[in-house]
């Protein structure tokens, strides 16, 4: 059967993907530029078909705590928001991580700080990859560069978060959320039955049936020696994730003199910049981190070998560049180029930056 190609916005595509994955519940609060996720879900009425619960909460704070409650019962639950709203959710995200629960969070980033702008940005990289809320924890952070990846990462995010019992975040920028592209949706997966959840998630608070001891979902432990053990268990999980789940894409890395490292929609603008540079005789390759945490540091280090310099292109003032510098131990020049406040650079601007910051310097 021929695959059906649809044309839709990244945000709409996430709503479809959630239903098709067999997601049990979505809890959200409107904020630009991602309100189409909730709007699309309400229009599709999945409670009539798959039985998925969709609820507009009274705040982002309530929405993430609904996700915490739903995740505690073993259900596949998610929320979405944009930068200021994601800041509000940080307490809840920390609790979900601390309680070792699976959940999916979508951040369609807009410019900050503060109320900022509704235009696209990638300025929440630090928040997403270094913690965001309080305590020692990480999220699995997936960075989509296309509407198709918005769809694919819903399933990947849920699968990884259940595999490791840790929350996953899709860190999209406003461009990917708002732009329309061709997309192929996956087939409908059935939601897990309550009985399947009881078997697959014996830790979940599903009602204390039979002989099992009661389940308690909490992130509280006042006894320091036990709290340290819990933290060590979390860290061991993070090391496993680093080992198994690091993802990235390489474009024309072999034979290139320079490297661009970029994530999300900007990586696609970089591919055009790469072509313009090629016409000028500058050979550039691209590494696009797909998991921002765990960061593909070994891949970046390997790709950097023999290169004259690296340009990190980001819609922020220089955040991912810190991870790139750590990956290559500053053995070669690493420069940053970014636009702020919701402005998207043209491919030519990126080439100009490459020439000014790296090519001119190495001559």
């Amino acid at each position: 059967m021929k695959e059906e190609v649809r044309l839709m916005k990244g945000n709409e595509a996430v709503a479809h993907a959630a239903i098709l994955y067999g997601c049990d519940g979505y809890f959200g609060y409107p904020i630009t530029p991602q309100s189409e996720v909730l709007e699309t879900l309400e229009a599709l009425m999945p409670w009539e078909t798959t039985g998925m619960v969709v609820l507009q909460a009274e705040s982002e704070v309530a929405a993430i705590n609904m996700v915490y409650g739903g995740a505690a019962t073993g259900k596949a639950v998610m929320t979405s928001s944009s930068s200021p709203g994601i800041s509000l959710k940080q307490e809840g995200i920390s609790y979900i991580a601390g309680s070792e629960l699976p959940a999916l969070i979508l951040n369609v980033m807009r410019g900050g700080p503060g109320l900022g702008t509704i235009q696209p940005s990638q300025a929440d990289y630090f928040q997403a990859t270094k913690g965001g809320g309080h305590g020692d924890y990480h999220l699995i952070v997936l960075s989509p560069a296309s509407v198709q990846e918005m769809v694919d990462f819903v399933a990947l995010g849920f699968d990884l978060s259940f595999k490791y019992r840790t929350p996953a975040m899709i860190l999209a920028d406003g461009i990917v959320g708002q732009m329309m592209e061709k997309v192929v949706l996956p087939p409908q997966r059935p939601r897990r039955t309550d009985e399947e959840i009881r078997q697959q998630c014996p830790w979940a608070i599903t009602g204390k049936k039979g002989d099992r001891k009661r389940n308690v979902i909490t992130s509280l432990e006042l006894e320091s020696s036990r709290m340290e053990v819990i933290n060590q268990r979390l860290q061991a999980t993070y090391r496993e994730i680093e080992k198994n789940e690091t993802r990235w894409e390489e474009i024309n890395v072999e034979g290139a003199d320079y490297l661009m490292v970029a994530f999300g929609s900007i990586a696609r603008i970089c591919t055009k910049a790469m072509e313009i540079a090629e016409e000028k005789g500058i050979k550039v390759g691209i590494v696009r981190p797909i998991t921002l945490w765990p960061f593909p540091k070994e891949a970046v280090e390997k790709a950097a070998q023999g290169k004259k310099g690296i340009l990190c292109v980001e819609l922020n003032a220089g955040q991912m560049i810190e991870d790139v510098r750590l990956a290559v131990h500053d053995r070669l020049p690493v420069e940053h180029y970014g636009r702020l406040g919701g402005i998207i650079p043209s491919p030519q601007e990126i080439v100009d930056a490459l020439e000014a910051k790296l090519v001119a310097e190495s001559k």
């Binding site: 619960v53 996700v67 409650g69 992130s219």
Partner: protein, 253 residues
């Protein structure tokens, strides 16, 4: 007569509820929480719903409620119990979900979540222990602290000009279309304990019948925070708290 002749099944007039665990409670002697826990455990056992009841514990003195009552529990962030309970209830509609919240949880940091869960008419039970003080953190002012009442953060007594008025959140709950049953009770006398137990049972029956949100406020003592003996606390509560927070049903439909 030997004591062993007295300790016999046929002479038993009182026993520990089957759902209360054999562990030391962290609550202070004289505190109302222990009685409320006992009533919850008795109601859940008598209704035969322990295998489908889920509790949501708060931040505050009852944060460790999950250590005592033998049902599944999830521990919420401060004020967020009603949001957590909303999802637990909607995603497992055969289960019976209750929150256990203090005055800070219900009427300060969690006002939005409490009002909105009740306004949506979530089919949950909200147990609200109002002792007019923040016990867990050492006796600071609560939203329900009375005018003139001394706490660690109102050392000369609560003043309207500095601290505003005590918040009667349960009265607010009663005017919401989503609530079906809103009552204010206490556990300071045997009669009051029996009455409160009946109210908690009614609230659980409402949740099972999917009638909407039930709120059971229990005006309570905090003898440690109030710096009184348990007996003095009960007397002070009856004398002062009941004036601001009169007992009885505010809504019953």
């Amino acid at each position: 007569m030997d004591i062993q002749d007295i300790i016999k099944e046929e002479n038993k007039v009182y026993c520990k509820p089957e759902l209360i665990d054999d562990v030391h409670m962290h609550y202070c002697p004289g505190c109302s929480h222990g009685v409320v826990h006992k009533l919850l455990a008795e109601v859940i056992a008598e209704m035969g719903i322990a295998d489908r009841t889920v509790g949501v514990s708060p931040v505050g003195c009852a944060v460790f409620a999950y250590n005592y009552v033998d049902v599944d529990w999830v521990e919420a962030a401060h004020g967020r119990a009603p949001a957590v309970a909303t999802a637990v209830s909607r995603l497992w509609q055969d289960n019976v979900v209750f929150t256990y919240q203090g005055d800070g949880d219900m009427a300060a940091i969690g006002t939005a979540e409490s009002i909105h869960a009740a306004n949506r008419g979530e089919n949950i039970v909200m147990i609200f222990v109002n002792n007019a003080i923040y016990g867990m953190t050492g006796g600071q002012m609560a939203p329900t602290t009375l005018i003139g009442q001394k706490t660690a953060t109102t050392p000369y007594g609560r003043r309207v000009d500095l601290n505003g008025h005590p918040l009667e959140i349960t009265n607010l709950m009663a005017i919401l279309d989503g609530t079906c049953y809103v009552t204010r009770q206490a556990v300071h006398t045997p009669a009051a304990v029996r009455k409160t137990k009946a109210c908690i049972k009614k609230a659980f029956e409402n949740a099972i019948a999917k009638k909407g949100t039930s709120v059971v406020e229990i005006v309570s003592t905090c003898n440690s925070g109030w710096k009184m003996s348990p007996v003095e606390s009960n007397e002070w509560m009856a004398q002062h708290m009941f004036e601001k927070y009169p007992l009885g049903d505010l809504k019953n439909i």
